[in-house]
């Protein structure tokens, strides 16, 4: 599922783009982007151990949380800002997206779809918080603080007046083309800010 997702991100990013990867982890994906797409990339990561591993890969990386990471840069410093895998874990979703689209011309964000059929089914039948492959932790241990669906996300973009330029949906079997809000477990969205600033 995530392999497909990462492949899609690589497809969306043109050669030699300037990329900021928020929550870059040990930098494996960013390094792959640098090698395959020859992008100039920088990462933001909170965990010092992972920062050290990014540095070993020769990546420029900033230790800090996502907001602090974005604050380091001037307007339009990047072509693409990546926020892969953690959007539903972060506070201040609106501010974050605004900030990301200040620093980058485009934002690629991934998130878990809370309206997947298995989630709906589990809640309906068991009356408990769902646990699936894409949502593997019990409620008291999950890092997720926002639970939303693909439709919710689209509504969020409309409210924020952000254009969703492209999207892609995935489940364990691969790409999901129809009924994504029911069938997809994770979603990937390519966003573009309004040309004259947001809102």
């Amino acid at each position: 599922m995530y392999q497909n997702l990462y492949r899609q991100v690589i497809d969306w990013i043109p050669e030699r783009a300037r990329v900021l990867d928020l929550g870059t982890g040990d930098g494996e994906f960013l390094e792959q982007l640098v090698k395959t797409r020859r992008v100039s990339g920088e990462g933001v990561e909170l965990n010092p151990e992972l920062v050290t591993r990014c540095i070993d890969r020769g990546l420029a990386v900033h230790q800090g949380d996502v907001m602090d990471g974005l604050d380091q840069y001037g307007d339009g410093a990047f072509d693409y800002v990546l926020l892969l895998g953690t959007f539903q874990e972060l506070k201040q979703s609106e501010q974050l997206v605004r900030e990301a689209l200040r620093v980058g011309r485009k934002l690629i964000v991934s998130y878990s779809n809370f309206a997947h059929v298995r989630v709906r089914w589990q809640m309906l039948l068991s009356g408990r918080s769902p646990m699936t492959k894409a949502l593997p932790s019990p409620w008291y241990r999950t890092p997720n603080i926002h639970f939303f669906s693909i439709l919710d996300f689209q509504g969020f973009c409309e409210d924020m007046r952000i254009k969703e330029v492209a999207s892609a949906y995935f489940n364990a079997r691969g790409l999901v083309r129809w009924l994504p809000n029911l069938r997809a477990e994770v979603a990937l969205s390519l966003l573009e800010g309004a040309p004259n600033g947001l809102g």
Partner: protein, 407 residues
């Protein structure tokens, strides 16, 4: 307590009772060289200057592996190995040596005592050739930029046009930064550690307490003291204050707690003699033996006066900077708090410099870069290794002829 923490608790290598310390570098030597003079920022012209320096490792054939390590307030040129004179290890021996973070099997490491210092370089205790007497307080004010200008003369002397890296902690970090700004074509990468672009009021305040201790010592005599009557008491107090600011509440608690150094006697006026008091007194006493009080005044003033931006916009100051940066700070460092490093990182990044930033959790205060610190060593070692690869590939690209241009 983990082994790593036990190692950290041993503290730094300056002014410690270092028993049976073995350095992988063995005995190392410092040299003194007379160099063409400089004009200081204040306008004073030195016809010549002397610098004491040490080199470790070998300069590569391409001369692309030289690292200038800049020392902090109380440091000197003796960065690694055992000094034949004092038998002491260099101040950064934990991190400089074969296979260490700054690997002397790979890199050619240079460290020189700063201009204005008192460990072999021209400073207030040197003889003024015009008068045949020590400069004392007739020595011109020196700045961090002057120190770096003097180091640049040393690089010319050593035949090194471009440094692979400039680095240092605290005042050393300021020098590393100035190198990247004042000599943009002579630095490939820059590692400022636990430092800042300008002192805050708090940092100046602590230095001023130290300076006042020295100049109010009756022996100071407007700076014209003799070997017999040096303001040792004042300097020792200055060092004690300074040393407290280099530690953290955690490190002092872990190291000393409320342990008493000796049993109390009924006839004592202030009977409790805490281990921390004894430690600070020892720090003060050993420091005065090797440090010149006037040098302490000049160098702390240079620190306080330092202002990298100096009311200019960061983009203007860093306009020509080409170096790649690795900024490191420590969460527990309250003398040079991480926020100052973050401010520096932001100023650099918003000026389009390539910067990595790491803030380590090491709980041992400002001294965290001087002590055994595996996390710090690993990060620094990784950066130097990957940047060295990067520099080599850049050089290759630059020297390769373009065989066929793409249509």
């Amino acid at each position: 307590m983990s082994d790593a923490h036990k190692g950290m608790l041993q503290g730094d290598l300056q002014d410690q009772k270092v028993k049976d310390y073995k350095s992988d570098l063995g005995v190392t030597h410092t040299h003194t060289v007379t160099l063409p003079g400089i004009r200081t920022q204040s306008g004073y012209v030195f016809d010549e200057i002397e610098l004491s320096y040490q080199t470790l490792g070998k300069l590569s054939h391409e001369k692309d592996n030289a690292i200038l390590v800049c020392h902090a307030l109380s440091g000197d040129a003796h960065v690694g190995g055992i000094s034949p004179r004092s038998g002491r290890p260099g101040w950064w021996d934990y991190h400089v040596g074969p296979g260490k973070a700054i690997d002397t099997d790979k890199f050619f490491v240079i460290c020189s005592n700063v201009l204005g210092g008192c460990a072999g370089s021209t400073g207030p205790a040197s003889i003024n050739p015009a008068t045949g007497r020590p400069y004392a307080t007739t020595f011109p004010p020196v700045t961090i930029r002057d120190m770096v200008a003097a180091q640049a003369r040393l690089m010319d002397h050593l035949g090194i046009h471009k440094l692979f890296a400039t680095m240092g902690g605290s005042m050393g970090g300021m020098q590393a930064l100035v190198w990247a700004v004042d000599y943009p074509n002579r630095v490939h990468c820059c590692v400022p550690i636990a430092t800042c672009m300008a002192h805050t009021a708090m940092q100046i305040a602590f230095n001023e307490v130290g300076r006042q201790a020295i100049i109010t010592d009756p022996n100071w005599n407007q700076g014209h003291y003799t070997d017999k009557h040096r303001p040792e008491h004042g300097l020792a107090v200055a060092r004690m204050v300074g040393h407290v600011t280099y530690l953290s509440e955690f490190s002092m608690k872990a190291k000393f707690g409320r342990t008493l150094q000796r049993e109390t006697k009924p006839e004592d006026l202030f009977p409790e003699f805490f281990a921390v008091e004894s430690y600070l007194q020892y720090q003060g006493e050993t420091f005065v033996k090797r440090f010149d009080p006037n040098s302490y005044l000049y160098i702390t003033k240079a620190l306080d006066r330092f202002d990298l931006l100096d009311k200019r916009a960061p983009a203007e100051v860093f306009k020509n900077v080409k170096a790649r940066f690795f900024v490191i700070s420590f969460e527990s460092d309250w003398l040079y708090p991480p926020d100052q490093s973050r401010e520096m990182v932001k100023a650099l990044k918003r000026s389009n410099a390539v910067v990595s930033y790491l803030n380590l959790d090491t709980p041992y205060g400002h001294d965290s870069f001087l002590i055994q610190n595996p996390e710090f060593a690993r990060a620094l070692g990784n950066f130097l290794r990957s940047e060295y690869r990067n520099q080599r590939s850049l050089l290759k690209k630059a020297t390769q002829p373009i065989l066929a241009a793409k249509p």
